[in-house]
């Protein structure tokens, strides 16, 4: 087993509950089976223990973290530990008074998701009438002196409107705009046929984003994230398994990424039973894909193995049923045909409507 590296970021998934029903939600498809098991004191202890391990940033996320009435107490604890605090939110439900309270308690940054530049399209993909309120929230964020990050998840329905999304972010005076293509895991994998864009669409959007990045340099950072299905080599998922990020799920599992608990056969300890430090160092689930010892060929002898760490374990499992396979997104993977086949189908108009994220157990769970 490799020695445990120092994590920098704690991703605190406070709850999987959310008023929105986005068809590409990054929570597990069976999110409704995972209950909020950590109380305020548990989360405050998780923050303290993570800080002792070397963590310097915390992302409060979910689901919708605003649904936790104790968010204030957690921000206060994080501030006391001198952690940089990010709130990753849909902006629903939020009133100005609460945002002001969070500001005064030391919250550093707010990321608001906006699903599309147009109200009807935005509300349609979110399955919730939310667009107008999101704009109000984004304006309060700036008024109260926070830096504002706008995050828009991209897919075949909204990629063509990327220019409008950029204009909206400018109008909101966002400091950072994340144009993040959906990654096809969790709900997005379930809805892949309805959401996956074609290569031409990606190229077009990428060039619009690149022009905006140059034009807005120093004012608004524009980040464009390509879907793994359209790259030659996969990105370094989470900067490497169990390396820089530690994720704590609403039910208390200490994970290397948002979906690691969907991989069978791996055991991740619970922060209710063991300290964050103990788990980070000795959890068998974290040890499983740390370092290079687990790698098959072609990763094992590939010079990129220290750059991409073999890609995404969840993508490997959900496409090949083997979590230890090379990420099929890699053009060198023996399973790359699975990605090529999915891409080849994109040229046709989608035959299916997407499934909204909902609490019912979906048949896909049994796949």
């Amino acid at each position: 087993m490799s020695a445990a590296p120092r994590p920098y970021t704690l991703v605190a998934e406070l709850t999987y509950a959310c008023p929105l029903h986005c068809a590409y939600c990054s929570n597990p498809v069976d999110f409704a089976r995972h209950h909020d098991a950590l109380d305020t004191d548990d989360w405050r202890r998780v923050l303290r223990e993570a800080e002792r391990l070397g963590v310097v940033q915390v992302n409060f996320t979910g689901g919708e973290p605003l649904l936790r009435p104790d968010l204030e107490s957690l921000v206060e604890q994080a501030r006391a530990l001198d952690l940089y605090t990010n709130l990753i939110t849909s902006g629903i439900p939020l009133e100005r008074e609460r945002l002001l309270r969070l500001r005064r308690l030391g919250l550093d940054n707010v990321q608001v998701s906006i699903q599309d530049a147009r109200p009807a399209e935005s509300d349609r993909i979110a399955g919730h009438e939310a667009f107008e309120h999101k704009l109000r929230v984004a304006r309060w964020v700036k008024e109260l002196g926070f830096p504002l990050t706008v995050n828009t998840v991209l897919h075949r329905e909204n990629l063509g409107r990327i220019g409008e999304v950029i204009a909206l972010a400018e109008e909101l005076h966002a400091d950072r705009l994340e144009l993040a293509n959906a990654q096809y895991l969790g709900w997005a994998l379930l809805n892949r046929e309805a959401l996956l864009p074609g290569a031409a669409q990606i190229e077009q959007a990428r060039s619009v984003a690149a022009a905006a990045r140059r034009r807005l340099e120093g004012r608004m950072e524009v980040v464009f994230v390509v879907p793994d299905y359209h790259v030659e080599f996969p990105p370094a998922c989470m900067d490497g398994w169990g390396r820089r990020f530690l994720v704590v799920s609403p039910d208390g599992l200490l994970l290397p990424c948002l979906l690691a608990h969907t991989l069978p056969g791996l055991s991740f300890g619970n922060v209710r039973e063991q300290s964050v430090q103990d788990l980070w160092v000795s959890s068998p689930g974290l040890a499983a894909f740390r370092g290079e010892g687990w790698m098959p060929e072609p990763c094992r002898s590939c010079e990129r193995r220290t750059i991409d760490f073999g890609g995404c374990r969840c993508q490997a499992f959900h496409l090949t049923r083997n979590a230890a396979a090379t990420d099929p997104a890699c053009s060198l993977s023996p399973d790359h045909g699975l990605i090529e086949a999915a891409r080849a189908e994109v040229t046709r108009p989608p035959l299916v409507a997407f499934s909204y994220r909902a609490a019912r157990l979906h048949s896909a769970l049994a796949r």
């Binding site: 920098y8 970021t9 310097v56 940033q57 992302n59 940089y84 990010n86 550093d108 940054n109 990321q111 830096p147 990050t149 400091d175 950072r176 340099e217 120093g218 004012r219 608004m220 950072e221």
Partner: protein, 68 residues
């Protein structure tokens, strides 16, 4: 380490020294002058070039604003 939304930059000691002097009051010349005491072995023009490059990089990333 310089922390900003959802990211951080690990700074080398020189970069950290420069950033500590960016207080909205010191001019670039004043920053170079102060650094000269800490890094006496570096020629002033070289140090000035390093400072400018670093500050320009921060400004490109939107992490530094010109006071005034």
């Amino acid at each position: 380490m310089l922390l900003y939304p959802e990211r951080g930059l690990a700074l080398n000691p020189t970069a950290a020294s420069i950033l500590k002097l960016c207080n909205g009051e010191l001019t670039v010349d004043a920053i170079v002058e102060q650094l000269q005491r800490e890094y006496a072995e570096r020629p002033a023009p070289e140090l000035r070039k390093d400072v400018l490059e670093f500050l320009e990089e921060l400004a490109r990333r939107g992490l530094l604003q010109v006071a005034g």
